[in-house]
Symmetry: C2
Subunit: 210 residues, 2 copies
């Protein structure tokens, strides 16, 4: 498999973690978002929303959108499971993942913040404040959904939502979000980053890291 | 079941369609987003991200995030299926749904556009332009993912992505998006809105419509 990925992209990070957790071999094809490589016609033909990641299977099938890819990987390589079998618990894990994937990430995406600056006059500081605001709101909500007494968000092994969380926390540190209200989330991150699959997927361990 | 819903919310609309398609009875509890009812402490206790929809099951279990709720409903009431069994097709349907649910909806959400106006000085016209931009970008990408020759996006019965699309198109019409490049999407909408489940779920047919 080929993973079109950008080292700092949290959505690419999610898929890298899942591939490593499941022991699936893949080649990383870097897509330099800052240089605009996602807008090249040959890339758009694979991924028309002009984002990363894109996963190309060995038969040439192309999959887009990180959460769809994660569920696909969970189907073809069921162990370790990223989603519980119980429908209610599964929905709760997905809802937590979607707080990260819908309420935080899209609003803070590079293309969105760049447009706020280029078209609507936001300064660099205002852009940072925008990013911090949505992360803080989302982390409060995420933390409020968690049960007590588990190592990860809902379980003692990392699930879909933990993958999304840990990738987002990379961004939180990068942008200087005040993490003092989120001790539980930092504990989850601390556990996860000790696992080889998370460590291998970290932005700084990618071939295109700079 | 109780569905906490706002008539114009496209995420509430998604869940209403699924409940009607599957023939599941539910009571609508209106949450007036414009009046700020989603920020009342008793609502936040159910839905800490302060959004709609929220689905409360008969045993008191509370589920949040529309896509997680849709997959839950697909588990407890498998017919008609909202997702195909084949893992690749399933991932493609989910990816299309996620273009709507991640690349369009969150960026245009009421809370996001309100903050752009209140904190960052965007005028009403700039807010409308912002909304139209992301819808147009997302619809182009969505349309590019579709195969030829199906009544709905990927099939001859409506799936998860069609539900997300039809709800988003309501918003596109409301905000005056130029739909001339999106004939295929309008055909899908036209088919869907003839189905009783979609008609019953339309914003204007809700008890809190005004």
């Amino acid at each position: 498999m080929k993973l079109y990925s950008y080292w700092r992209s949290t959505t690419s990070y999610r898929v890298r973690v899942a591939l490593h957790l499941k022991g699936l071999a893949f080649d990383t094809i870097p897509v330099d978002l800052v240089a605009g490589a996602q807008r090249a016609p040959e890339y758009i033909a694979r991924n028309p929303i002009k984002g990363v990641p894109t996963l190309e299977l060995d038969d040439g099938t192309v999959l887009t959108q990180s959460l769809a890819i994660l569920e696909y990987l969970d189907h073809i390589a069921p162990e370790p499971a990223l989603l519980p079998d119980d429908p209610v618990l599964r929905a709760k894990v997905q809802a937590a993942a979607q707080i990260i994937a819908m309420d935080i990430h899209p609003v803070n995406n590079l293309k969105v913040v760049s447009r706020l600056k280029s078209e609507h006059g936001l300064s660099a500081d205002e852009g940072t404040e925008w990013i911090r605001h949505w992360m803080s709101e989302g982390f409060h909500a995420y933390q409020a959904l968690l049960p007590q007494g588990t190592t990860y968000s809902f379980s003692d092994t990392p699930l879909l939502c933990d993958i999304c969380l840990v990738a987002q926390l990379y961004n939180a540190h990068r942008w200087g979000v005040d993490m003092s209200p989120f001790a539980r989330l930092l504990e989850i991150e601390n556990h996860a980053l000790k696992l080889p699959a998370f460590d291998a997927a970290r932005p700084e361990n990618q071939p295109d890291a700079s």
